[in-house]
């Protein structure tokens, strides 16, 4: 199903907006991909793939969120639906554009800040380790990462605006 691969970023981002962590995102995508394969015959046009796939993924995300709810605090169903509605129109092209902007914006950050921005994805305890090495608390470092993300987000916004005009 090359269609899945070519829209994977869009689907992954969509699920990320709805779900609280990447583990849940991957679970939902995995389950959705199986359903997509089973129901592939119902798809009539290539253009129809992304909206169709998002409908399937949306349901899987809600199911994963519901299962998560037993273990931890999670956003209400109502809010998850609002977020899903908000994220639904994101196209693969929009995401490619924002990824290009993100790449450019990353370059404006120092090496150590880039490393810090990526540290949360480098496994359990990476941020904590970095904090210890720098003689800071993990909490302080997460705050810094939050601020860096906010700056990065602003930069991406500006870049996308510039490209549109």
């Amino acid at each position: 199903m090359p269609l899945f691969l070519s829209h994977e970023t869009a689907l992954r981002t969509y699920a990320r907006a709805i779900l609280p962590d990447w583990g849940s995102v991957d679970d939902a995508l995995q389950e959705a991909s199986v359903t997509m394969l089973e129901k592939f015959d119902q798809l009539h046009t290539v253009d129809g793939f992304l909206p169709w796939a998002k409908v399937i993924l949306r349901f899987k995300c809600f199911a994963v969120a519901a299962a998560n709810r037993r273990h931890r605090p999670i956003l209400s169903e109502e809010v998850l639906r609002l977020i899903a509605d908000e994220a639904e129109p994101l196209s693969q092209q929009t995401l490619l554009d924002s990824r290009a902007a993100l790449d450019a914006c990353m370059q404006r950050f120092s090496d150590s800040h880039q490393t810090l921005l990526l540290a949360p994805y480098a496994g359990d305890g990476e941020v904590k380790r970095t904090a210890e090495q720098a003689g800071k608390t993990a909490n302080a470092l997460y705050k810094l990462i939050g601020r860096l993300r906010e700056k990065l987000s602003e930069c991406v916004e500006v870049k996308l605006q510039q490209e549109m005009t």
Binding site: P20, E86, A87, P120
Partner: protein, 451 residues
């Protein structure tokens, strides 16, 4: 808390229950904030992609790790024979958490065009705990922690037991054992081999209950647990075959001649002579020439039944030992499988009413062969989760029925005996390939003869 900080804390998995409530409220009340939230999630997805591209993302998750330590995906075990899934699985499972907290038995070294059905990770480089690896397509190499390497060829099922022990339940594999893993044991359902160095090949055929062990290089001992016999293979190309209680050794040629030869099989097709009907007779809308539709609903309005004929005058069935009717199930686009009982039973009728033998393709529900025009020869079952595969019947009734009519054309009728679950949603219409189907073969009658 400042909304931006709150949002980033949430995406970083750093929020407590109170903060989730606060975020919930803000997201409910402020559409603009929702738009910003989606942008922040998009940024998070982009950053993660960059992390993966730069190789900073390991197998296990850092961000917002969900609380279950050992996620197992057994709920997700569904039949997936399609190689197409390989691509999806490789991508989707690519970022699965590793089996934290469970001992690693082996590593998936490489996979070539591999499609898996497995509860274990299937990305090359993944650490594998004890469990089953089911390879549906392609070739894959698994290295046990002892150093023993198993090159698996699809379709195959390998159980990872310990770093020094694996079990090949079905399929073919080549096992390479370095010095560190002398004594590595590869079990099969029929016996097991202990490797005393270097390389051997195994093939397990569960239908014949047969295991072949072939020494490629070095030395292995093959054991047959039922008799307690052990045979050592020391010559290159030497083969030991275990089947039931027999234990044969020699070269491949010797064993091939020693085994019973395969029986003769003849197949007869329908030559396009098949059709489906439904009570409202709206053929142009609901009957598709490529498939044979079958459905049963309590209110008969949406039933489908199918029938097909084989001309037996070209085959001599005097010495036929077995008869089998083969039908190939193909995915259906009509209705929902979830509206069906878990197991669906189908009936195959042989037509005995001669008046109905000359049915016309494109005829009506009323004129078409019906169960009352024949005798029930057998039934078969299909789980609702299955939409592909070969089904049918093979029994004495079928053999006698065709032998009595071996000089003419015989018609079979296929109906679904089980209905659907109450409710308004349409249950699945089962579809079997006709001779016009682009992928699958139409109905076949298969006869087995003694040589």
């Amino acid at each position: 808390m400042d909304p931006s900080t709150l949002m980033h804390r949430y995406l970083l998995g750093r929020v407590n229950a109170d903060e989730v409530r606060e975020l919930d409220q803000r997201l409910t009340n402020d559409p603009e904030f929702r738009a910003r939230f989606v942008k922040a999630a998009t940024l998070d997805a982009g950053l993660r992609e960059i992390a993966i591209e730069r190789g900073t993302e390991p197998q296990s998750f850092g961000v917002g790790q969900s609380p279950q330590v050992n996620r197992n995906n057994s709920h997700w075990l569904v039949p997936m024979a399609l190689a197409a899934l390989a691509a999806i699985l490789l991508v989707v499972i690519g970022l699965q958490p590793s089996t934290t907290g469970t001992a690693t038995i082996a590593t998936l070294v490489s996979s070539e065009a591999a499609a898996w059905e497995s509860t274990l990770p299937t990305t090359p480089g993944s650490h594998l705990a004890a469990g089953t690896m089911n390879l549906r397509a392609g070739v894959a190499t698994i290295r046990f922690r002892s150093g023993a390497e198993v090159l698996l060829e699809a379709p195959a099922e390998l159980l990872l037991v310990t770093p020094m022990r694996g079990k090949l339940a079905s399929g073919a594999a080549v096992v390479d054992v370095p010095e560190s893993a002398y004594g590595f044991i590869l079990e099969t359902p029929d016996g097991y081999a202990v490797d005393y160095g270097t390389r051997f090949a195994v093939r397990v055929d569960p239908t014949k209950q047969q295991s072949d062990f072939e020494l490629v290089e070095g030395e292995i001992a093959v054991h047959q647990p039922t008799t307690g016999r052990e045979i050592r293979l020391v010559d290159e190309g030497e083969v030991a075959t275990i089947q039931d209680s027999s234990f044969v050794t020699g070269t491949q040629e010797v064993i091939d001649t020693g085994m019973p030869s395969s029986p003769l099989i003849t197949r007869v097709g329908t030559n396009g002579r098949s059709d489906s009907v439904l009570p409202n007779n709206k053929r142009h809308k609901f009957i598709d020439r490529e498939i044979l539709s079958v459905k049963h609903h309590r209110r008969e309005k949406w039933d489908y039944r199918s029938f097909f004929a084989f001309d037996l005058s070209t085959v001599n069935l005097d010495s036929a030992k077995e008869a089998r009717l083969r039908l190939n199930l193909v995915p259906s686009v009509r209705g929902f499988a979830s509206r069906l009982p878990e197991i669906n039973r189908f009936g195959v009728y042989g037509m005995t009413n001669d008046a109905k033998q000359n049915w016309q393709i494109g005829g009506t529900w009323e004129d078409a062969p019906a169960p009352d025009d024949g005798v029930l020869l057998g039934t078969f079952e299909i789980p609702r989760s299955t939409q592909r595969g070969t089904f049918g019947i093979a029994n004495e009734e079928l053999l006698n029925f065709v032998k009595e009519r071996s000089d003419r054309s015989v018609t079979f009728l296929l109906i679904r005996l089980t209905s659907q679950i109450e409710g308004n949603v349409a249950g699945l219409t089962h579809a079997f390939a006709s001779d016009y189907h682009p992928e699958s073969v139409g109905p076949l009658l298969e006869f087995t003869f003694d040589e």
